[in-house]
């Protein structure tokens, strides 16, 4: 059964989630990944949105993290002061999903500006809750398509810290969470090296070579000794994604 890169990414992300975990969810692929996980191996996953919905079970595909379908039938809806102080900063979030226009060698993410802050070539949306998710979630998972533009050696602006920021480590800076442990791309999976915090190639999708990945990354990408192959989405996963979770192909078509 053929599948799109987005379907592969959603499936790989779903497999990262363990049953019962508390996940801070974004819209798009992270939302699909969480709902795929809930429908398969992790029925007790708790989804939290920065908008204040906890334990959401949306009856339609939400198009924003403030979608009304995330409220109706959820377990709790609280104000954003509670979300950020009493849930995220409190340490209750086990997994956070992040994405961004630029991701660099050390997992730093830029969603603020391309170019200089004062005179940007492209003004991006900014942090939203990403900076604090990157700091507080016990681990984060990044989802992004590979390209040299998206994976520079160093981001133009650190919106969400990775593993090494201007030479300093997370633990030196006193960050509670473990940071981006996986970067799920459309060609393979990068992981943070435990010693250096540098992103290295950990697994390749079927039919992709390490050189293809290297060519799409702006630094000399190292490869784990044992870069594993990744099981593609199976028929049950694809059926769920296509027929139940995103029947209009809003996020999965490409």
């Amino acid at each position: 059964m053929t599948y799109s890169p987005a379907e592969m990414m959603a499936t790989v992300a779903a497999r990262e989630l363990r049953d019962g975990e508390v996940v801070f969810v974004g819209i798009g692929l992270p939302n699909l990944a969480c709902n795929l996980a809930r429908a398969t191996h992790a029925p007790r996953l708790v989804l939290i949105y920065e908008s204040g919905a906890v334990g959401a079970e949306p009856e339609r595909l939400p198009v924003s993290i403030g979608d009304p379908s995330l409220v109706t039938g959820s377990l709790m809806v609280c104000g954003m002061a509670d979300v950020f102080q009493f849930l995220l900063q409190n340490g209750r979030i086990e997994v956070g999903f992040l994405g961004g226009a630029q991701i660099d060698r050390f997992g730093n993410i830029n969603t603020t500006v391309v170019g200089s802050y004062q005179h940007p070539t492209v003004r991006l949306p900014g942090s939203g809750g990403a900076a604090e998710i990157a700091i507080h979630a016990r681990r984060t998972i990044v989802i992004s398509r590979l390209s040299r533009r998206a994976f520079p050696e160093a981001v133009d602006f650190i919106t969400s810290p990775g593993h090494r920021m201007r030479g300093r480590t997370r633990s030196e800076l006193g960050m509670p969470g473990a940071g981006p442990v996986r970067v799920i791309t459309d060609k393979g999976i990068l992981e943070a090296d435990e010693d250096t915090g540098e992103l290295v190639l950990a697994s390749l999708y079927p039919g992709v070579t390490a050189d293809e990945v290297r060519a799409a990354v702006g630094w000399p990408l190292r490869c784990r000794g044992t870069a594993l192959g990744v099981e593609p989405p199976g028929e049950p996963e694809l059926r769920l994604l296509r027929e139940v979770l995103d029947p209009d192909g809003l996020y999965l078509r490409s």
Binding site: A53, V77, Y117, G126, S127, G174
Partner: protein, 293 residues
């Protein structure tokens, strides 16, 4: 609405129209545009389409924010033109969501700052020197701070309120309570004005006490194209369409001419939009609880 904005929103004011995706008061934003307010400092976590329109209309001198995009649909192009090309020039003061929430919490508590464990490793404090640090008097830990935000005027859309402004909100609550209580002046805009007995029947739903409210405006559909839980759904097509409308300055101007300057009030806007009934909420009424003793 005309009177409330005329009386309570002034040129040069720091203005907050809050509501996270939910209950964004476009009706108030449009009235501010119509009354041609100038030099406003606009503050919101998510500027959303409403501030994009106000920036395009020339109301804003400065933007204080944490995420400036069109959720799920693309960019805020008036905002981007202002920042990338200076058309018109726009000063920025930028935080994360938590930082903005903390600024309004400090404002509502009338403290000069709020403490948060945040910003280490990010470039935000470099871009914004108003993000500072404080040392814990118990542990010696160094933590981040943001300064209080006390707007001149805050506008909050609510599902219902009584004539005194005791306002009830359900669904997403955002930072409306904090924003209203941080503010010098408060306008509450509602889908429905209700008898005070409705408010008193379920006091735990009241988010903003009338004692903090300066004006109550009744404006059905006042949050469109945003939504009001239990009243109408978000107009997602409008949000998607904004990408094309706003990408071109002249098409954005035409939109403002037709839907903001071209109508006298919200009722005319609703009529001009046409077919909003398609967004009318379905019924999912919860059971009540017993307040007896």
């Amino acid at each position: 609405m005309r009177d409330a904005v005329a009386a309570l929103v002034r040129d040069g004011d720091t203005v907050v129209i809050e509501g996270f995706t939910h209950l964004i008061c476009f009706a108030a934003g449009h009235e501010i545009i119509r009354q041609r307010r100038r030099d406003l400092t606009l503050c919101r976590l998510t500027p959303d389409l409403i501030y994009d329109q106000m920036i395009a209309a020339g109301c804003a001198r400065k933007l204080v924010f944490s995420w400036a995009g069109n959720p799920g649909a693309g960019s805020l192009h008036a905002f981007r033109r202002a920042v990338e090309k200076g058309e018109p020039p726009l000063e920025l003061e930028e935080y994360s969501h938590f930082g903005m929430v903390a600024r309004l919490s400090a404002g509502a508590a009338r403290l000069p700052f709020w403490t948060l464990r945040d910003y280490m490793g990010t470039d935000l404090p470099v871009a914004n020197p108003r993000i500072r640090r404080v040392t814990c008097p118990y542990t010696g830990e160094v933590l981040a701070t943001v300064p209080a935000l006390n707007p001149d005027v805050t506008i909050v859309h609510a599902q219902r309120a009584d004539a005194q402004g005791n306002a009830q909100i359900w669904g997403l609550l955002g930072v409306q309570k904090e924003a209203a209580l941080a503010s010098e002046r408060v306008i509450v805009v509602v889908e429905e004005l209700v008898d005070q007995s409705v408010i008193r029947a379920d006091p735990n739903r009241t988010m903003i006490p009338g004692l903090a409210v300066d004006a109550v405006v009744v404006e059905p559909w006042g949050a469109h194209p945003s939504y009001a839980q239990g009243y109408y759904d978000r107009d997602n097509d409008f949000y998607i369409g904004w990408e094309a409308t706003s990408r071109d300055a002249s098409s954005l101007t035409r939109y403002l001419e037709e839907f903001v300057f071209g109508v006298r009030n919200r009722a005319e806007y609703v009529e001009r939009c046409g077919g909003l009934e398609r967004l009318r909420a379905s019924s999912r009424v919860c059971a009540g609880v017993n307040y007896g003793y």
